[in-house]
């Protein structure tokens, strides 16, 4: 391996004199040694000379030699002074580096740049500075690595990105509990549920803030688990009852010393929905069982020899047929109301010729009216505007109201269907002079499966869903149904449908 091949070190200072001038340590030290030696020898020589001269005048050195040695000594002393100044200048940054190193060792945070040496110190300084540079780079990389997705880093980033505001707008509470069981973070909703400003919550012991033993237990237990724990907590605030669901999430990466995340959710609405669903299911099964019971029992009757007479058999067949119809109507109604309520029912909007629709519905119900000798009439205004809506669903609405009126109107009664038109809306009025609805029942007739308790109503078969469906259809069209009724005198159902719904600005003209 030749000398050329070795990587040449940087050489900012070239000649030895230049290096000496700039104070490079080896040169200064060598020159210093020479200067000290010369000064010492010169001074010794001159002192000896002075001693000889004093003891025996004329026995000292010759004048020329004395002058020369004097100059050498003075020059050497000057050189020492110069070199000392040079050295002092170099030592100052070294002293600073030493101070910073000591502080760094004592744990005081210092920027690595304070440890850099001036280039004038030559290769040692360059090597040292390179080392510092590499150390700084390693430190930066380490910081980036440790800034992984630990909660505090995430939150710190959220803070900087304005995400904390996003967390504050969430409809559920978010808490962050650290390894010392102190609250590290609480978003806006959590602060509301816990009844204190978020600023006051930070740093408080979690056990002090969360006054539910089960939640506190979950906070401890979750550290050794991989799964989320859930606790429901009901609190009474005066008459108002709130049920909160606390979900306690284990620390990220399963580290038992990590931060535990807690979410808080108001499940009151959820509970209400569950209750409503149970109620609905209960009624559905109850309602389905009734026709099913009839069909099964009458079919069984048909198989028995003791019921062979023509009249009984005919009665059985009739009940089976009518109850099968009732069952299928019930299934259809249940599907309709479910779709309407869940919102999966979509309006299939188009131009609806209301006059034609009403004529058709009255026509369809004439048979039932004739059976009870009820006078079913339709009154239309001279001009009927075209309505934007779902023809099929509006037909169901009208049919349910007319069918209802016929059912609860005694033999020989009257049912009138009237269409009223105003600038903004159409009004379909279905009026009967039937059994009427008591004030207590009026408020509830639109509820699903609600049927008034009196005999006159109970003796008529019905699903208890017709009016609920009718109202949902009216509301889907941006309208509603109102009811006025006097028991034993009759009822009037009024459907009001706006001519312009929010959905379509397109208005059909009459």
């Amino acid at each position: 391996m030749s000398a050329q091949e070795t990587p040449s070190s940087p050489r900012p200072v070239s000649g030895p004199l230049q290096r000496l001038w700039s104070g490079a340590l080896p040169e200064v030290l060598s020159a210093g040694c020479v200067a000290v030696l010369l000064a010492a020898v010169g001074a010794l020589y001159l002192l000896t000379d002075l001693a000889w001269e004093a003891a025996a005048p004329g026995r000292g050195l010759p004048d020329a030699l004395r002058w020369r040695w004097g100059l050498v000594t003075v020059g050497a002393v000057l050189l020492i002074a110069f070199l000392y100044r040079r050295l002092r200048r170099q030592a100052r940054p070294l002293a600073a580096v030493q101070r910073n190193l000591e502080q760094l060792a004592a744990g005081v945070e210092r920027d690595l740049a304070t440890l850099a040496l001036s280039d004038a110190l030559g290769q040692v300084a360059q090597g040292w500075n390179r080392l510092i540079g590499q150390l700084g780079e390693a430190q930066r990389q380490l910081r980036t690595l440790s800034a992984g997705p630990t909660p505090e880093n995430v939150l710190a980033r959220f803070e900087s990105a304005g995400f904390r505001r996003v967390l504050d707008r969430l409809p559920f509470g978010v808490l962050c509990v650290d390894a010392r069981h102190a609250l590290r973070y609480a978003n806006g909703a959590a602060a509301v549920w816990l009844g204190r400003p978020a600023g006051e919550l930070i740093g408080l012991p979690a056990a002090q803030v969360l006054d539910n033993e089960a939640v506190r237990q979950a906070l401890l237990a979750v550290r050794t688990r991989a799964s989320t724990l859930s606790v429901d907590h009901t609190q009474q605030d005066g008459e108002h009852e709130t049920t909160l669901r606390f979900r306690v999430l284990p620390p990220a990466d399963g580290a038992p010393g990590g931060d535990v995340l807690v979410t808080i959710e108001d499940i009151g609405a959820l509970r209400e929905t569950e209750r409503a669903r149970d109620h609905f299911l209960y009624h559905v099964t109850h309602e389905l069982r009734t026709p099913l019971t009839n069909i099964a029992a009458y079919a069984e009757t048909l198989t028995k020899p003791e019921f062979e007479d023509e009249q009984t058999r005919k009665e059985c067949y009739n009940v089976i047929v009518s109850e099968t119809r009732r069952l299928s109507r019930l299934v259809e109604d249940i599907l309709s109301i479910s779709q309407l309520e869940v919102g999966t029912a979509r309006l299939n909007p188009g131009e609806v010729d209301l006059a034609r629709l009403l004529r058709q519905m009255v026509q369809d119900n004439l048979g039932a009216a004739d059976d009870k000798q009820i006078d079913l009439t339709l009154t239309l205004p001279p001009k009927v505007p075209k309505l934007r809506g779902d023809k099929q669903k509006l037909s169901v609405l009208v049919n349910n109201l007319v069918g209802n009126a016929l059912k609860y109107t005694p033999r020989g009664g009257q049912v009138q269907v009237v269409l009223d038109v105003t600038e903004q809306a159409v009004r379909i009025v279905v009026r009967d002079n039937g059994i009427g609805i008591s004030p207590a029942d009026q408020a509830r007739v639109f509820e699903k499966f609600y049927r008034a308790a009196d005999d006159a109503v109970q003796s008529v078969t019905g699903t208890g869903l017709g009016l609920a469906i009718a109202r949902e259809v009216a509301r889907l069209h941006g309208g509603d149904i109102t009811l006025t009724s006097v028991p034993q005198q009759g009822s009037t159902f009024t459907v009001e449908l706006p001519l312009t719904t929010g959905e379509s600005a397109e208005v059909a003209r009459g």
């Binding site: 009734t290 099913l292 099964a296 029992a297 069984e300 009757t301 009196d454 109970q458």
Partner: protein, 133 residues
């Protein structure tokens, strides 16, 4: 001939039970709700009461409760129900010797249960003779 009260709000079921029990030679009294049933049974005792649970006005269980300490029902009670928790109901009422038939029910089975109640020896010591008094 025994006297049987059927309390049931569904007209078809009421008619059917009435049809079956009449064919078996019983006298059947019909009630469309609990209140009417109570009035009928108080006016004249019956041998067996067949009643629905869900009825307007006065439900079947309240009707039975009100009649428990009386001697208006001489031989026994059969409860028809379409309640989903009929298992619990059956257990609870079995202690009182009340039969529970969940709907849909078999009219043949109902006839058998009624016949069994009528054939059994009266529980009450020195119980009255079956039949209208």
């Amino acid at each position: 001939m025994s006297r049987i009260l059927v309390a049931e709000d569904d007209p078809h079921i009421l008619r059917l039970i009435s049809l079956w029990l009449t064919r078996q030679g019983h006298t059947v009294v019909e009630a469309r709700n609990g209140i009417a049933a109570r009035e009928l049974v108080q006016a004249e005792p019956v041998d067996v009461l067949v009643c629905d649970v869900n009825m307007p006005g006065l439900d079947g269980l309240s009707l039975i409760e009100g009649l428990r300490s009386t001697t208006h029902v001489r031989r026994g009670v059969v409860v028809l129900t379409n309640r989903w928790d009929h298992g619990d109901l059956r257990e609870r009422l079995a202690a009182e010797g009340i039969q529970v038939l969940p709907k849909p029910f078999s009219p043949t089975r109902l006839s058998e249960v009624v016949a069994a109640l009528l054939a059994a020896v009266p529980v009450e010591p020195g119980g009255r003779e079956p039949g209208p008094t």
